[in-house]
C-alpha cells in the first residue's frame, strides 16, 4: 500500500514552512547543523534552494558542492561566527528547523538568548524585503523540558552527560528575540506532539481567550495525546496558559 503524502512526520514538518506568507516560488535558504537538513531531499517549490551547514569555529570546512541527489540544491558550509557565504537581500525564505536550540553546541556562550538574537539579525540581512524567517525551537518552559532539565541537574553529580538540546528559548523569549532582531508580524505556534512530526499547531496569542483555547482542546483528545497530556493541557487552558505545555514552538516573522 502506498504512503499518503503527509503520512511521514517529516513531510508534515516540511509543510510547516509552506504556511508563512512568502513570495512564490521564491528562493529558500535552510540553515542547519550537519545531518539535520529538512529540505535536502525534499520536493520544494522554487528553482534553487541553498542549505548552509553550520560547524564549530575550529572545524575544517568541507567544500561547497551541489547535492548528489538533487541538482536544485547547493550545500554550503560555514562556522557559526564566520562569514555566511551569501549576499545581502538574497532569499525570500530562511528556515531554522531546530537550529537555534543547537547554537550553544557550536560555540560556548554565556548568554544563549542574545547569541540567538545576534544570529537571527545576521540572517535577516540575507532576506529580501518582506522575506520570511521561520523556525522551530524547543520550548524551554514546557513541562517536559522543565522536568528533563531538573532530572539532569539532579543526576549530573553522578556523572551523567548533559542533554543534547539546550533549549534556551521559550515562546516568550523566542518572540522577544525575533522582535529585537528586527522581524515584524511575528506569529508563534505551539506544536503537538513535536516539531518533527506535527499533528496540530495552536497559535500562541495572548489576546486569545480561554474559551478558544478550550475549544482548540476538543480536537486533541486521547489517543491523539496521552491522557496525562490532555489533563495537563486542560488545566492550563483553564488558567489561560495552555501553550506552556507544548514541547516545540514554531514561529515566523517578516523582514520590514
Amino acid at each position: 500500500m502506498k504512503m499518503r503524502p503527509f503520512e511521514p512526520g517529516m513531510e508534515r514538518a516540511r509543510a510547516l514552512y509552506r504556511i508563512p506568507p512568502v513570495t512564490t516560488p521564491g528562493k529558500t535558504l535552510e540553515v542547519c547543523l550537519e545531518g539535520q537538513s529538512l529540505l535536502r531531499e525534499a520536493d520544494w517549490p522554487g528553482e534553487k534552494r541553498s542549505i548552509c551547514v553550520l560547524h564549530r569555529s575550529n572545524a575544517t570546512l568541507p567544500e561547497t558542492r551541489p547535492s548528489n541527489s538533487d541538482s536544485n540544491v547547493t550545500i554550503h558550509h560555514a562556522t557559526l561566527r564566520g562569514n555566511l557565504p551569501y549576499g545581502k537581500n538574497t532569499f525570500d525564505r530562511i528556515i531554522l528547523h531546530g537550529t537555534l536550540d543547537q547554537l550553544p553546541l557550536l560555540a560556548e556562550t554565556d548568554n544563549p538568548i542574545s547569541s540567538a538574537e545576534r544570529f537571527i539579525a545576521r540572517l535577516i540581512a540575507l532576506l529580501a524585503s518582506e522575506g520570511i524567517l521561520a523556525g522551530c525551537v524547543q520550548n524551554r518552559l514546557s513541562i517536559k523540558n522543565v522536568l528533563r532539565r531538573a532530572a539532569w541537574r539532579f543526576k549530573k553529580f553522578a556523572g551523567m552527560t548533559p542533554p543534547t538540546h539546550n533549549c534556551p528559548l521559550s515562546a516568550f523569549s523566542c518572540h522577544r528575540v525575533a522582535e529585537q532582531a528586527g522581524l515584524i508580524n511575528i506569529r508563534m505556534f505551539g506544536l503537538v506532539p513535536n516539531r518533527d512530526a506535527p499533528i496540530r499547531a495552536f497559535q500562541i496569542e495572548p489576546k486569545l481567550s480561554r474559551s478558544i483555547a478550550k475549544r482548540q482542546l476538543l480536537g486533541l483528545k486521547p489517543p491523539l495525546v496521552s491522557r496525562h497530556h490532555y489533563a495537563i493541557r486542560h488545566l492550563l487552558a483553564e488558567t489561560g496558559i495552555g501553550h506552556l505545555v507544548d514541547e516545540s514552538i514554531f514561529f515566523w516573522g517578516k523582514k520590514p
Binding site: 499518503r4 509552506r18 495552536f202 497559535q203 489576546k207 486569545l208
Partner: protein, 299 residues
C-alpha cells in the same frame, strides 16, 4: 499560503483585520492542511488547503449538499485557486462529535435525528438518477478487486436482479460516527467529499453501524445474527431500514460484506490503517456470511 486564507476572508468581507486572526492548524496524513481561523470568541472559519488535490469538485459537492440538506451540512462560503493552492472555506461550527456509546444506548436521544436525516436523503433521491445501473457499478468494483481476495465478495452480486431493482439513492459516502456531530440540539454531518459517488441504498447505514460497533467483527456478527435483537437504538434503525434507507433489513444484512468492500474502494487512497481494518473485517464477515445468512433465514 496563509496570505491566501486572509485574502479569501477579506474578499468574502468576513473580516478586514487579518492581524486579529488566530489560527489553529491541523496536519492530516492525507494531502490537506486544515485551518481554523478564530475571529473572536464566538466566530471562526474553517479552511481546507492543498496543493496536491483538485478541491473544486469537492466545493461543488458541498454546495449541492448544502442546498439539499440545509443545516445538516456546514455552510460553504467560498473557493480560491491561486499560486498552485486550492482553498475551500466553510463557516466554523462549534460541535461535539458523537461517541459510539451514545448511539448504542437503548433509548438514544439522537436516533430520531439520524432517522430524520436518512429519511431526507432517501426523499431527495429524485436528483440521484444514475446513467448506469447498480450492476454496472458492481462490475466496476469487481474489475478493481479482480486480483485480490475481495473479488470473491463481489462476484456473487454480479448481474444480480435483487441489486439491480433497488432504487438509486445518493449516499453520503463516509457516514461514520466520527463525521456526525452535535451542534446545540442539531445534528451536523461533515466530510461530504464522497457525496453521491455511491447510490446503492443502505451503504450509509452500513458504515454507520460498522463505525458505531468500531469495525469489530465479533460485535458486527453478534449484531446481525442475533435472532432477538435487543431494543437498542441501532436495532430499531435496522428494523426500519426499508423506510429510512430504501432497503429491506434482510437484504441489507446480506449486503454488509459488499458494502464494506465498496467502502474500501472509496477509501483506496486513504490511510493504511483503515484499509487494513476494513479489509480484515470483510475477510472475516465473508467467510462467515453463509452461516450467518442461514441463521437469519431460519429466523
Amino acid at each position: 499560503m496563509i496570505e491566501l486564507i486572509e485574502e479569501l476572508l477579506i474578499e468574502k468581507k468576513l473580516t478586514d483585520h487579518t492581524e486579529k486572526l488566530a489560527f489553529d492548524i491541523i496536519f492530516t496524513t492525507g494531502s490537506c492542511l486544515l485551518f481554523n481561523a478564530f475571529l473572536d470568541d464566538n466566530k471562526f472559519y474553517h479552511f481546507k488547503v492543498t496543493e496536491i488535490d483538485d478541491l473544486y469538485p469537492e466545493y461543488q459537492l458541498y454546495k449541492e449538499a448544502r442546498e439539499l440538506f440545509g443545516d445538516y451540512t456546514p455552510n460553504i462560503i467560498g473557493f480560491l485557486r491561486k499560486n498552485g493552492w486550492d482553498i475551500v472555506l466553510t463557516e466554523g461550527i462549534h460541535h461535539r462529535v458523537l461517541s459510539p456509546s451514545r448511539l448504542m444506548k437503548d433509548k438514544s436521544d439522537l436516533t430520531p435525528e439520524i432517522i430524520n436525516f436518512l429519511r431526507l436523503m432517501t426523499e431527495k433521491r429524485g436528483a440521484a438518477t444514475s446513467k448506469n445501473g447498480h450492476n454496472a457499478f458492481i462490475h466496476e468494483l469487481y474489475d478493481h478487486f479482480s486480483s485480490t481476495q475481495f473479488a470473491n465478495v463481489v462476484k456473487p452480486w454480479l448481474d444480480n436482479r435483487k441489486i439491480e431493482s433497488l432504487p438509486h439513492i445518493r449516499q453520503h459516502g463516509d457516514f461514520a460516527v466520527n463525521n456526525i456531530a452535535e451542534s446545540g440540539s442539531k445534528l451536523v454531518i461533515f466530510d461530504w467529499e464522497d457525496f453521491g459517488k455511491i447510490t446503492l441504498p443502505g451503504f450509509d447505514l452500513c458504515i454507520l453501524l460498522a463505525s458505531v460497533l468500531q469495525y469489530d467483527d465479533q460485535e458486527i456478527l453478534r449484531f446481525i445474527s442475533d435472532p432477538r435483537p435487543k431494543h437498542s437504538a441501532l436495532s430499531n434503525l435496522l428494523n426500519i431500514s426499508k423506510e429510512v434507507a430504501g432497503i429491506a433489513p434482510l437484504l441489507f444484512k446480506e449486503l454488509i460484506p459488499l458494502y464494506l468492500t465498496i467502502f474500501l474502494y472509496l477509501k483506496k487512497d486513504y490511510g493504511t490503517s483503515i484499509q487494513k481494518n476494513v479489509g480484515n473485517l470483510i475477510s472475516l464477515l465473508d467467510g462467515l456470511s453463509e452461516n450467518i445468512m442461514q441463521g437469519i433465514n431460519a429466523v
